[in-house]
């Protein structure tokens, strides 16, 4: 029996802390409404009637359905979707070995735009050295409610010890706004104007790092010409941040450089221009020369792991259904573009997809426009979900394969990249309480019945031993078993790319301020601002966000967490609410062209009058999520479909809604 989880003080990522969710994680193991055995649907989809079956029966059933679909539609007829997890690699490999090109992962619901923007500019995905920065500009990333290790701890520490000045932009007065030195409730969608004006001031006043720009960058002169029109006065009108403040921030930022950074955050799925907005952030960071320096933007270091040499399979023959090559040729092809993929599945374009294998993901909650996802569910001949709990998507599946929780299973060894990368190994602390299996066992069970067993002919220990055998340790497995984490000696890495002969992984080998590659593919080679559409009178822009005590849409049913927010509310400014005659606590209906949700209104000064906002992860359909079922409203039901044209990343802050008494 697990009584209590303590932080691992040896892990430099977590800085010796465990958040509320980490502390509450043990209740996942002992949740009375866990999925305790494999389940096969016994009623209509979503009716909640299940038959408990043996693993053999569940595997046979799943494999037979997959074979049927393969026979009729080819291997591309099955979609494999999963979200970030140490064991995700096994699931993904099963999809590939099956022969399907249709593997879709989470980045286009998350950080695809920021990753691509930095890849195009610097040829690398960086971390932001908040521990050593003296000046930080952050837009929307709300790091004090949306936790990332070690960024959250580093930033609160340096901000509150008066070492770092934090300038924060957000239409909501979040905890991060409350702790910042300056908070600006920027007009939503105008972030790019603010950044371009900063670049304008810095270049106009000759405050950029001339030596760095000359040595490492290409296209600076074009940038200087390009930003001439983006004056602080112009940006003041666009952003509602006074021109004088923009000028002062630009000066303070460049004075503090290279220990100054514009932080990009993780879930960058905001706007249809998100890629270009993140590109502008990358360019701003480039011209003040904070790249790869203490307190700046630092390319992620990795630790090379060995690979278990499994039998390789043939590449899939069919093209991806989201046609990445055609639609998003610059984006990470193997991750896919989720929303475009959903469009094409619904249109059976260019071919039908009739099977859906899902691992640790809840598309009904995670994707905007839930009614479209529901149509995708309805058009599938077969759906199987691997999960630790009965998510909304599992609730509509035909087969539910219960995975052991992270406290009951051995996970593959993984590297957490960063300025100071570490190798981590998650080990079971108790035996599985119910008839559940780790992901690899589930993958092998299905693979064997699809005659693909030879591609997965290894144990988790063999996999891990191969991974760690090159680490500079006497007995790497023993070391990881004892410590859970391996931290290479020497501390954080800076400056490896700061050598005039270094070739950046870009077309020119330089940091690309002006991108010929973008131009070649028909995109703006420098970020061009277009004023965002604003909500018509009587409508609001819908914003979504997180709290530190819930993980995405997953933990709102945890009894140790849910009393902090037993339901979600619609944040609405009292001025706007009084226009609509809405009182605090009143039930309202919030609706868009995609759909609607009912939840109670929370009149708060903490949001702009032209926006409303709701917390993610409520209004659940699954009755096994006993404490979250039917409580509050589901943001996924209201958010409209839409994406950034370069990266394919979802655009989740582009929905205009109406609010009325329910």
């Amino acid at each position: 029996m697990i009584r209590k989880l303590d932080p691992n003080p040896k892990n430099p990522k977590s800085r010796g802390m465990l958040c509320a969710r980490g502390n509450a994680g043990l209740l996942q193991v002992y949740d009375p409404k866990r999925i305790k055995k494999p389940l096969i649907r016994a009623g209509a989809r979503g009716e909640g009637k299940w038959r408990e079956v043996s693993w053999d029966e569940a595997f046979d059933y799943t494999a037979n359905k997959l074979k049927e679909i393969k026979l009729k539609h080819g291997p591309q007829g099955v979609l494999w979707s999963s979200t970030e997890a140490f064991a995700e690699v096994f699931f993904k490999n099963l999809g590939l070995a099956f022969g399907s090109p249709n593997i879709v992962r989470h980045p286009t619901l998350c950080l695809a735009s920021v990753n691509l923007a930095y890849s195009v500019t610097f040829g690398a995905v960086p971390s932001f050295d908040l521990q050593n920065a003296n000046y930080v500009i952050m837009a929307g990333a709300n790091r004090f409610e949306s936790f990332i290790t070690p960024d959250t701890m580093d930033l609160i520490d340096s901000t509150m010890n008066r070492k770092t000045r934090l300038v924060y932009l957000d239409p909501r007065f979040t905890v991060t706004a409350a702790k910042a030195d300056e908070w600006y409730p920027i007009k939503p969608g105008s972030d790019l104007a603010f950044i371009l004006a900063l670049v304008h001031v810095i270049i106009a006043e000759g405050r950029h790092d001339k030596e760095f720009v000359k040595t490492y960058c290409q296209g600076f002169d074009q940038l200087a010409e390009h930003v001439k029109k983006y004056s602080p006065e112009w940006a003041g009108n666009e952003t509602e941040i006074a021109a004088a403040n923009i000028v002062r921030i630009a000066r303070e930022f460049s004075d503090a450089a290279p220990r100054a950074l514009f932080y990009s955050g993780r879930r960058s799925s905001w706007y249809r221009n998100d890629f270009q907005m993140r590109r502008a952030q990358a360019i701003l960071n480039a011209i003040v020369g904070n790249w790869d320096k203490q307190g700046g933007v630092v390319p992620n270091s990795k630790i090379a792991l060995g690979e278990f040499l499994y039998l390789p399979w043939d590449d899939p023959e069919a093209p991806r259904i989201d046609e990445m090559d055609k639609n998003f040729p610059l984006a990470a092809k193997s991750d896919g573009a989720y929303l475009k993929l959903r469009e094409n599945v619904l249109a059976a374009n260019p071919y039908p997809v009739k099977g859906w294998m899902i691992c640790k993901q809840d598309p009904l909650s995670a994707l905007p426009d839930q009614s479209k996802t529901m149509r995708m569910v309805e058009q599938m001949d077969f759906i199987a979900t691997i999960d630790i709990q009965m998510s909304d998507t599992a609730w509509y599946a035909d087969v539910v394969l219960p995975e052991s929780t992270y406290l009951e299973r051995q996970d593959p060894v993984e590297v957490l990249a960063g300025i100071w990368p570490v190798v981590v190994m998650r080990q079971p602390v108790v035996k599985p309480v119910h008839d559940t299996k780790p992901c690899l066992d589930i993958v092998q069970g299905i693979a064997k019945r699809l005659d693909l067993g030879m591609y997965f002919d290894y144990t988790i220990d063999q996999w891990n031993e191969a991974a760690v055998k090159e680490l500079p340790l006497d007995a790497p497995m023993d070391y990881l078993r004892n410590h859970g984490v391996y931290t290479p000696p020497g501390g954080p890495n800076y400056g490896a790319t700061l050598n005039p002969d270094h070739r950046f992984v870009t077309q020119s080998g330089k940091i690309e301020i002006f991108s010929d590659r973008l131009k070649e593919f028909g995109h703006d080679p420098l970020p061009v601002y277009q004023p965002p559409e604003q909500p018509p009178a009587g409508s609001f822009r819908m914003l979504v966000g997180r709290k530190a005590y819930f993980t995405h849409a997953n933990s709102s049913s945890n009894p140790w967490l849910l009393d902090f927010a037993p339901e979600n509310f619609l944040w609405i400014n009292p001025k706007s609410a009084s226009h609509a005659g809405i009182a605090d606590g009143e039930l309202v209906e919030v609706s868009s062209s995609a759909g609607s949700a009912k939840l109670r209104a929370r009149l708060t000064e903490h949001i702009r009058p032209d926006c409303v906002s709701m917390l993610h992860g409520f209004g659940k359909r699954s009755q096994w999520l006993t404490r979250a079922y039917n409580r509050g409203g589901n943001d996924a039901a209201v958010l409209e479909n839409g994406w950034d044209g370069v990266s394919g990343n979802a655009a989740m802050h582009e929905t205009f809604v109406k609010v009325r008494k329910a």
């Binding site: 932080p7 802390m17 509320a20 502390n23």
Partner: protein
């Protein structure tokens, strides 16, 4: 060895209201659902866009002169020599005088056992040389817990170096949570 005297020093500015302390306490002390031994007081002021929000963790102040101990008819509420104020389940009769007398609203009645419960400063952890769960788990390390009798301890050094206040000193309870200014 000289007598230890435990206190808490809290830097509320660093609190981001993430609730990790409350959940760590729930796990460590098996706090019954619906209750908590620690809390975060929130204060919000202003109107858009001139706004202020502050967060202040609070729990039993482990007073030097605790009113709960004075009013307890059975001696269940007591103060250890090291300053930790505790309730002994076996002798608590659930009369709740202590709850009324506590100026900090730091206690609750536990229906399932008929006793009053509160923060124990994780005395069982301190006794084996570990920090209280709330202190250890905190992402921003808001709290420091230690021995004020030891001039070299972290809490002594913090109070030497920083301005601080205690809450409601006029009660005469001599509370032992020191809030840094």
């Amino acid at each position: 060895m000289s007598q230890k005297r435990y206190i808490l020093v809290i830097d509320s500015r660093k609190c981001i209201n993430c609730k990790a302390c409350i959940v760590a306490c729930r796990a460590e002390n098996r706090v019954p659902l619906g209750h908590s031994r620690d809390r975060i007081n929130e204060e919000r002021r202003g109107s858009f866009p001139v706004l202020l929000a502050t967060f202040e963790p609070e729990q039993c102040h482990h007073c030097e002169n605790p009113s709960c101990v004075r009013v307890c008819p059975t001696g269940a509420s007591h103060r250890r020599d090291d300053g930790i104020v505790l309730v002994t389940d076996d002798t608590c009769i659930g009369c709740r005088y202590c709850m009324v007398s506590c100026p900090y609203n730091a206690r609750f009645f536990r229906e399932d056992r008929g006793v009053v419960e509160k923060c124990s400063l994780c005395s069982h952890r301190l006794d084996r040389g570990e920090l209280p769960a709330c202190v250890q788990t905190c992402p921003s390390k808001v709290r420091a817990c230690g021995d004020i009798a030891d001039p070299e301890s972290e809490v002594s050094r913090l109070l030497d170096k920083r301005e601080y206040r205690v809450k409601n000193p006029q009660t005469g309870n001599a509370p032992q949570i020191y809030y840094l200014l």
